[in-house]
């Protein structure tokens, strides 16, 4: 020992780094990824591959050649965005549409704000919503899953879409539409009934959510607040008029709610720092989602709800602070 290091305390550091956290999020999404590939086959594999590779590549190119800085792709956050974006698209999305989504997600929503930690809106969701508005035909082309590498895909509507469309007919009731399509809750829980790739199986998403909790990557409160709000508010509407409003369980299990509540609303960068803020953020997401589902022109509103609430995060961080020791 010829040199002696001197620096202020602490002299140890936790092993949990940004990279470890982001990799954990990717691992948590693997069950949902696996299920989507099993259900939708090679088409979904292509969407996943294009999405992840483009996200990483675009971030690399922007950091190296536009910003002329060291590449930040090593922190795995671009991979997280890539997987999330893919899980939020229909498996039939053409590769070039996926690429445009990745370009908007990373290039616009993430890097123009200054990269990881600086963005106001969830990149994957910005990418998805951009595609939804720009390419509505591709983005609302749903297929009923035909099993691993099946060829005979049947086009169909998502349960939320079917209800929205059905209720426009005079005299239609929620129960009638549900019965016509033969939707069952066990089907919603374990196997898909049409929708974005990642929405295929609720159990797979919950598995990932539990992994994130066990690894202490996230806290459960925001997610629970979203799900609780959706259950509670839809219960009120449903009890008031079950023929026009879908029931709580239907609302919890269909569409992108679980995917959004578990993996997107919990994104560190775009969600509040405190538990109190997170709960209010969750209430907002749950409420807006339901309002769009019940009264909006889109059948599904989770993406919009999260993006709208993203914009309130700086305010929530200003209003709600940690409980301090020895202070009222």
């Amino acid at each position: 020992m010829d040199k002696i290091l001197v620096s202020p305390n602490p002299h140890l550091h936790s092993k949990t780094t940004t990279k470890v956290l982001m990799r954990d999020v990717v691992i948590a999404m693997l069950p949902a990824v696996a299920v989507s590939v099993v259900f939708y086959g090679w088409k979904e594999l292509l969407v996943l591959a294009v999405s992840v590779l483009s996200c990483v590549l675009i971030e690399y190119l922007i950091t190296r050649f536009c910003l002329r800085k060291a590449s930040t792709t090593g922190d795995w956050s671009a991979v997280v965005t890539g997987v999330l974006l893919a899980l939020n698209l229909p498996p039939t999305t053409p590769w070039w549409v996926v690429f445009i989504g990745a370009l908007v997600a990373i290039g616009v929503a993430k890097m123009t704000f200054g990269g990881l930690g600086q963005n106001v809106f969830n990149p994957a969701l910005v990418g998805r919503v951009f595609l939804l508005i720009s390419f509505p035909t591709y983005m609302t082309h749903w297929e009923i899953p035909q099993g691993l590498f099946g060829v005979d895909a049947i086009s169909g509507a998502t349960p939320l879409g079917a209800i929205k469309e059905g209720l426009m007919q005079p005299g239609a009731t929620v129960q009638g539409i549900m019965a016509d399509h033969g939707y069952s809750y066990s089907q919603m829980l374990f196997a898909n009934i049409g929708g974005s790739a990642g929405e295929a199986c609720a159990v797979a998403i919950l598995l990932g959510f539990i992994y994130l909790l066990v690894r202490k990557v996230i806290k459960p409160w925001t997610t629970l607040s979203i799900l609780g709000t959706v259950a509670l508010v839809s219960c009120v509407f449903w009890l008031a008029d079950p023929s026009r409003f879908t029931d709580p369980l239907f609302n919890l299990l269909t569409g992108g709610l679980l995917l959004g509540a578990c993996f997107m609303a919990t994104d560190y960068v775009t969600s509040p720092m405190t538990v109190k803020g997170g709960v209010i953020y969750g209430v907002g997401i749950g409420f807006i989602t339901l309002m769009i589902r019940y009264f909006g022109s889109y059948p599904e509103g989770v993406s919009f709800a999260i993006l709208i609430m993203n914009s309130t995060v700086p305010l929530l961080n200003n209003w709600f602070h940690q409980k301090k020791y020895g202070r009222a």
Partner: protein, 464 residues
Amino acid sequence: MARRTFSIGGVHPADSKISRDCKLEYLPLPPTVYIALSQHIGAPAKPVVAVGDKVKAGQVIAEPGAFMSAYIHSSVSGTVKSIGPRKDLSGNNQMVVEIAVEGDEWVEEVDRDDNLVTEIPQDPKAIIEKIKLGGVVGLGGATFPTHVKLSPPPGKKCEMLIINGCECEPYLTSDFRTLLEKGEQVVVGTALIKKALGVDKATIAIEDNKPEAIENITRVVAALRSKSPEYSGIEVMSLMKKYPEGGEKQLIDAVMHRQVKSGGLPIDVGAVVDNVCTALAVYEAVQKNKPLVDNSVTVTGECFPKQANLIVRVGTPLRFIIDYLGGVPEDAAKIVSGGPMMGKAIANLDAASMKGTGGLLFLTREQTKRMPESGCIRCGKCADACPMGLEPFLLNRLAKAGDTDALEANAVQDCIMCGCCLYSCPAGIPLLDVISQARGQVMGIMRARAAAAKAAAEAKPKTE
């Protein structure tokens, strides 16, 4: 039952108590000791010996320089060689008394016999006086003069004495060994402090990663209680292992479910907290007339071949301690005085040990490497970790902006420098480095404001 602990924040670094099985052993006397005149919070002590004087171990060599100060005794017998500045472990000059060691002769009053004295003197003032004369200071880290702590200001009443046996810093085991090997003395010391404060209840708090210590102290308390009523009211409490449980404010929260107000003192909520080694020092000072001239030091680290818990005379050069155990290992990159979370990195190995020296920790470059800093991902882990409930990410931002008003409003002055924020930041942002600087600045502003307000208040009556 839920394990009891403090309510806000905290982190769980690896225990790394690799020296836990090393019995306390006496370090041989060094050829020379360098006894600092400022080994406590408050004014430095004033030397009462001159160069050339012969001194004995336990003899007073410096007297308190003010109310907030402490006696300092010679830890060895020998000749005073010099009194002057010498570099401390950070490399700053400190006044020290240099004594060349000759034999090991003690002043007569000191009872060096090992027999346990369990009778508790009845006069609290006499106990406090003996503690003062023994130069006892808090050995938990802050080195606050114990006799000052035991004389609460009028109007403040102590409701519970807490003896801190948490030793929540990783690696350190000297408190643990003391609880195991000198449990009787610690409990008698607890009873003495209890008597001095005139309080009925005392709690010896130990983290549950030290079951042997909890068992031993429980046994000792039961045995002493059956002998004398002086030992009733002493309880042992097991706390969940979590850093920084041994922080005074956190410990009060864990044990009493009370929180000290910002800027307040533990006595405001009826608590007095003393470390187990302080209780031992009180025992020795009161029952054995032995002043605080030695203390236990854990010498440890994965890269250090020989772990040890040594009883070291105050003023022993650090290099002497290390050489006794085989010298500085080749792959050690940093040597820390104290634990890895709050200890100080040593810049000068020729510095000497002090009353508050609790550990020497050797860390390799790999172990103590700071991560390259990357962007904040707003994960909030620093805020979850902060035991004071502060928001380090926010304080860091405000400090960089130089916004001292906002820093004060967000309680930067409450920071206890525990290091949990920097420890837990996944982006490797040097939060505490930035915050501690801002904290110093804000505290300076607050002091200046208080002084100005006081001056204004004093000036007022004259104009009226």
